[in-house]
């Protein structure tokens, strides 16, 4: 009996090792371990054996059954792995075909992206951001900013005035000269609006779209500025220089320097134009090969913005109200202001040759920036 068990065990071992797929193994399981198979029957009938043989036969049969089960299980794992690998290989890809592109990446417009970058620089310097209306009055755009009545910027050739009369001879649309409507020619009107709304100290930047009737490669009738205004009781022209130096380095690189050149603006005194040392030639004016720097035209400096200490007369145009009390007394507060062109800064940084590209919105232009 014990010999027969050993024989069955050996047979099963060979058959299992030879089995090539799950189906064959299932058959072997039925054949050796199924209800009608020899080994289970033998175990079931063990009671018929003489008592002294029962123990040995039972133990041997059980061991054999467990061993066969283990062999089937082990072989089954091997076969399954082989089968999986076979089926995986059957599902082969041409790995050289192009991948499926993900959803395309969008872009911010280079003007918007540059404007946001400028905002972030000044946020970091402690300024908050304000927006203002694009349609302004003569009062805020010129009068309150200390422009002489004959200042050339007021001319119809330099400012877009708006038609507000409904028709000829319509008196309902007539406005006081200072209340005439126009498209703001700079972001500076918000200087006075900001001071009307907030008491000092005031640290704000005002980004936005502005308009002037010019159109060529270096002028578009609409463009963008970022205005800055800082008013406190002790803000100096040197503070302006430091603030704009921080800006220049953030935008144009750590090695940049700034220089202030005296100029004239009606609403700042002293007024300056601010040049940044040229990043293309490191301010040398010429390149390594000795040729003249094409970016700064050999100057070594790039004109970037206009600025100055706020003119005392501008404070005088700010009425004191509950909102901005104690108000802006020219003897007690002082500060600086600047206006920078976003298009110009983006143009310098990216080497964009023609301002009109900004508003053509050709996809091949858009996709180069603003990621």
């Amino acid at each position: 009996m014990i010999d027969r068990i050993a024989q069955l065990r050996a047979q099963a071992g060979e058959a299992i090792a030879a089995a090539q797929d799950t189906e064959a193994l299932d058959q072997l399981r039925v054949h050796y371990l199924g209800r009608k198979a020899e080994l289970p029957l033998l175990l079931r009938d063990i009671g018929a054996l003489p008592a002294d043989q029962r123990g040995a036969v039972g133990r041997t049969a059980n061991e054999a059954r467990k061993a066969i089960e283990a062999l089937i299980s082990a072989r089954s794992q091997e076969v399954q792995a082989q089968e999986l690998s076979g089926s995986l290989l059957a599902d082969a890809l041409d790995v050289t075909l192009p991948g499926t592109p993900p959803r395309p990446v969008g872009r911010m417009h280079v003007i918007a992206a540059t404007q946001r970058e400028l905002e972030d620089i000044f946020l970091g310097l402690g300024f908050t951001v304000l927006e203002g209306p694009e349609v302004e009055t003569v009062h805020y755009n010129f009068d309150a900013l200390n422009h002489n009545p004959n200042h050339p910027a007021r001319a119809r050739t330099d400012t877009f005035y708006l038609r507000t009369e409904a028709g000829p001879g319509d008196s309902a649309g007539e406005r006081e000269p200072s209340e005439r409507l126009l498209l703001r020619t700079h972001t500076s009107p918000m200087q006075v609006r900001a001071m009307e709304a907030h008491p000092p100290p005031l640290y704000v930047v005002i980004p936005g779209r502005v308009y002037r009737p010019d159109s060529d490669a270096t002028h578009t009738p609409q463009f963008h500025q970022v205005e800055g205004l800082a008013v406190d009781d002790d803000i100096t022209l040197a503070d302006l220089k430091g603030t704009l130096l921080a800006f220049a380095r953030a935008i144009f690189g750590d090695q940049r320097d700034v220089r202030l050149r005296p100029h004239f603006f009606p609403f700042t005194e002293p007024s300056v134009e601010v040049d940044v040392s040229c990043f293309h030639c490191s301010g040398e004016g010429f390149l390594r090969d000795g040729s003249r720097c094409p970016l700064c035209k050999g100057e070594g400096w790039l004109e970037v913005l206009g600025a100055g200490e706020v003119d005392p007369d501008v404070y005088a145009h700010v009425p004191t109200t509950e909102r901005n009390a104690p108000g802006y007394d020219p003897e007690k507060v002082q500060g600086f202001a600047w206006g920078m062109g976003v298009e110009r800064i983006a143009m310098l940084r990216h080497g964009i040759p023609d301002l009109r590209l900004y508003y053509e919105n050709d996809v091949r232009f858009l996709e180069q920036f603003g990621a």
Partner: protein, 824 residues
């Protein structure tokens, strides 16, 4: 303004080359925009010669062969020069260009053979040196030679300014004094410390008092603060001397005759314009300055008749107006070759008034551009002094006694107090009071030391007449010190920023998030024009009374297609899409954040303008790029764009709803594929496929019109900003999820179903989503099946099926009321 460097150096001559002068002027506020060159390229090979003999050319009637003594410049005896000028004669001192000379136009002179005779140079006429226009004859320098003891062979520059650098300056509007060359010289003096010559007007041959025969009345002193005139007799009108011609030419002025040239020269030197009348043609010998009558015609020097208004000023004589004040003289009293008596007018006009008249009449001149800046009345006297001297010297004239001088002299303004402490506090750097005083004196200010008040040092500063328009306050003096003391000395510091904190407002953060969300959807941000045209409104099929027709118009548009301010972003989105489509870009997703404008006729008496920030999106062509796995991806349609809207709303944390749009309000949208977008129940925009009639069907979209939307971004952000962000526990207990399919009449909108389910399921129903829509034979005609995924939640416990049974029953009942039946 053009400043010939030789002329400038006559007044102030620092030991600097042109680049050095350029740098100093620019860094002290007089920006040099360009350095030009006038005249010959180099003075070499231009010499003085004396004509020894003149003989006819053997083979050409009109040419002469001259032997010209060039002294050391041609040591082997006289040079032979062929000359075509009729006025050449033996004994003349002349200007000669020898071979090698480079002419103003850059050509280099060489020995030339003229009809067989070798010419060793050229005897020069005015135009060949860019001094004048005269080419009729050569320049004869006999008088100069006698006066300056010139000898043959000496460089021509001894006699004439034949070349100079010319500075092209940007003069800021506050500095009309720098519209005169002496004013620029004073700047150079202050900027370099080089000595300044006395003003060219410092000697005056004239006298005060009335003038016999001539009188002037000023009827409008508010527009004519000062009017001066002097009378000259025995004036010989003739060409100007060469030096004067050369100066005017270098400054960009054409020479006319000596009298007119003197007025121009004095204007260039002092900044003060002048006008010369032929006094014998001034009817009655009397001039009246008065306002023009409305619609009064005046004939001006250029032969045109101009129609004036009551704000303009004319100067008239006994026969009527002779000129428009400050703008242009009249033809009647113009100086001519027969003039012998000259009345020289130097007046001061109201700047803004001249500015206005000049723009209204379209008349701009060197004179008007100076007057409109507002000149100092004192400058009249300076110009009279310099002009009188030149009239006597150059025109052989006699100055009759007296000076007509109408106007009330302006009292000297009180001196301005300049506090050292204030200067330090504005600039952030120290300038000693000694240096302050030095700078101000160099700029012609009168400076006294104020008695020190405590430890604060002060100066008392008197402003010179020419600067009184510009310098009225302490701040103005601080600027003067700063610009000359050198802004490059300024340290770079940062403000103390007490209490200042740079943060974006909630609205600003949300606006940025909106842009980021759209970029995240794969869209490109664009920037369109604010300007639009009436045509583009027509193209949108807007009716006469459509609200988007309430557009704002510009008074002076650059062109008719930029005459309006846009009332919608759709036009520019379409323009940009068309631009790219024409360049082969068929799959396009773009958005714009920008301002739109509308006339506001409702507020008070005056018509106003409303503006708000808008957000527009346009998608056309395939929503995704075609690939080898999906060669025909779906076109961007209503639902593709609605997905963008939902992503945007999700990013902003607001809920938006779409309801069918009224086609009359949105004539530019496909009438059956358009929605009005609501936020908090209020309409904030629209979304839809464009009407086939407004998008030219070019087949590029495969039958699907582009989809577009526009939202009121301000309203959207405002509604997002008020959302609260309190914590809700969505973690401790799981939701219970159940699906259902319901068959409903097709006309019942999905939103209506959602509303019914949400209302009946509250508060346990947490979310519902439509995940399948089926129409077809299995559900019958005019019916459709909606499959809904529902999710229930109780923040206190885990829900069991039994817990939601009552809710479930209510939901089914609500669906039943809509005509719905549970499917399968």
């Amino acid at each position: 303004m053009r400043v010939p460097l030789l002329w400038l150096r006559e007044y102030c001559d620092p030991p600097l080359d042109v680049a050095g002068i350029e740098e100093r002027l620019t860094m002290t506020g007089t920006k040099v925009e360009a350095v030009l060159h006038h005249g010959v390229r180099s003075p070499e090979h231009f010499v003085i010669g004396r004509v020894v003999s003149v003989e006819g050319h053997p083979d050409a009637d009109r040419l002469r062969v001259c032997e010209v003594d060039l002294g050391a410049a041609h040591p082997d005896g006289p040079a032979t020069i062929v000359c075509g000028a009729p006025n050449v004669a033996a004994g003349q001192t002349v200007a000669v260009a020898q071979p090698g000379a480079v002419m103003p136009d850059g050509t280099k002179l060489a020995k030339a053979k003229l009809r067989g005779v070798v010419s060793e140079g050229m005897i020069l006429a005015e135009d060949e040196l860019s001094i004048g226009a005269n080419h009729a004859g050569i320049m004869v320098l006999d008088e100069l030679a006698a006066a300056q003891r010139l000898a043959p062979g000496q460089p021509l520059t001894r006699a004439l300014a034949i070349e100079t650098d010319v500075l092209e300056l940007e003069i800021t509007p506050n500095r009309p004094d720098c519209l005169g060359i002496f004013g620029v010289a004073r700047e150079l003096h202050a900027a370099t410390g080089a000595p300044l010559a006395p003003p060219p007007w410092s000697t005056d041959p004239g006298s005060a008092g009335p003038v016999d025969d001539a009188t002037v009345t000023v009827e409008c002193p508010e527009l004519c603060p000062r009017f001066t005139a002097r009378l000259f007799d025995g004036v010989a009108v003739a060409p100007s001397p060469l030096w004067l011609k050369a100066r005017l030419a270098a400054a960009g002025q054409r020479s006319i005759n000596n009298v007119v040239d003197i007025t121009n020269y004095v204007m260039l030197a002092t900044g003060q314009p002048l006008h010369a009348f032929d006094f014998d043609r001034v009817a009655g010998g009397h001039l009246t300055v008065r306002r023009a009558r409305p619609r009064e015609p005046v004939q001006t020097l250029d032969g045109q008749t101009r129609t004036l208004d009551g704000e303009m000023v004319v100067i008239e004589d006994g026969d009527g107006p002779t000129s428009i004040a400050g703008l242009m003289g009249g033809a009647r009293s113009e100086v001519s070759s027969s003039t012998s008596r000259v009345l020289l007018e130097v007046a001061n006009w109201n700047g803004p008034n001249i500015h206005r008249s000049s723009w209204a009449l379209g008349l701009r001149s060197e004179a008007s551009s100076r007057f409109e800046k507002g000149l100092a009345p004192e400058a009249c006297a300076y110009a009279q002094a310099l002009a009188s001297r030149l009239m006597l010297e150059l025109c052989g004239a006699t100055l009759l006694p007296g000076t007509i001088d109408v106007g009330t002299p302006v009292a000297d303004p009180p001196p301005i107090r300049l506090r050292a402490k204030r200067l330090r506090s504005i600039l952030g750097m120290d300038v000693t009071t000694e240096r302050q005083a030095h700078i101000l004196r160099a700029l012609d200010f009168d400076v006294k030391r104020d008695d020190a008040d405590g430890d604060d040092e002060r100066l008392l500063v008197g402003v010179p007449p020419l600067r009184r328009q510009d310098i009225t306050r302490e701040a103005d003096l601080i600027e003067e010190i700063a610009r000359i003391a050198g802004l490059d000395e300024l340290p770079a510091t940062l403000p103390a920023r007490r209490g200042a904190c740079g943060v974006l407002s909630v609205q600003q953060r949300l606006r940025r998030r909106a842009v980021d969300a759209l970029v995240g959807c794969g869209l490109y941000q664009v920037m369109g024009w604010t300007f639009t045209s009436p045509d583009s409104l027509d193209q949108l099929r807007l009716g006469e009374d459509h609200p988007l027709r309430q557009v704002v118009a510009l008074e002076d548009p650059l062109s008719s297609d930029q005459s309006l301010l846009r009332s919608t972003l759709l036009g520019s989105l379409q323009t940009i899409a068309a631009h790219n489509r024409a360049r082969g870009v068929l799959s396009l997703g773009i958005f714009e954040v920008g301002t739109v404008f509308a006339l506001d006729t409702g507020s008070g008496s005056a018509i106003g303008v409303r503006e708000h920030g808008a957000l527009g999106v346009l998608m056309s062509g395939p929503a995704l790029p075609a690939t080898w796995r999906s060669s025909d991806p779906p076109k961007a349609d209503f639902f593709a764009l609605k997905g963008v809207l939902e992503a945007l709303a999700e990013a902003l944390g607001v809920s938006v709803d779409c309801i069918p749009a009224n086609p009359e309000l949105y004539p530019f949208l496909h009438p059956a594929r358009a929605a009005e977008v609501l936020c908090g129940g209020e309409p904030i925009g629209w979304l839809g496929e464009l009407h086939p009639l407004i998008e030219a069907g070019d087949g590029a979209h495969g039958g699907v019109s582009p989809a577009a939307m526009e939202l009121d971004l301000d309203a959207l952000v405002a509604s997002a900003a008020i959302r609260r962000h309190d914590y809700r526990d969505l973690i401790s207990f799981p939701p219970l999820r159940r699906d259902l399919a319901v068959v409903l009449p097709e006309r019942v909108a999905a939103a209506r179903v959602e509303q019914a389910v949400r209302e009946s399921g509250a508060p346990m129903l947490e979310d519902m989503r439509i995940f399948d829509v089926y129409t077809g034979p299995q559900v019958g005609a005019n019916m459709r099946s909606l499959a809904l995924a529902l999710s229930f939640r109780d923040p206190q416990r885990t829900l069991s099926d039994a817990d939601i049974d009552p809710v479930w029953t209510r939901i089914l009942a609500a669906l039943g009321e809509l005509g719905g039946e549970l499917r399968g």
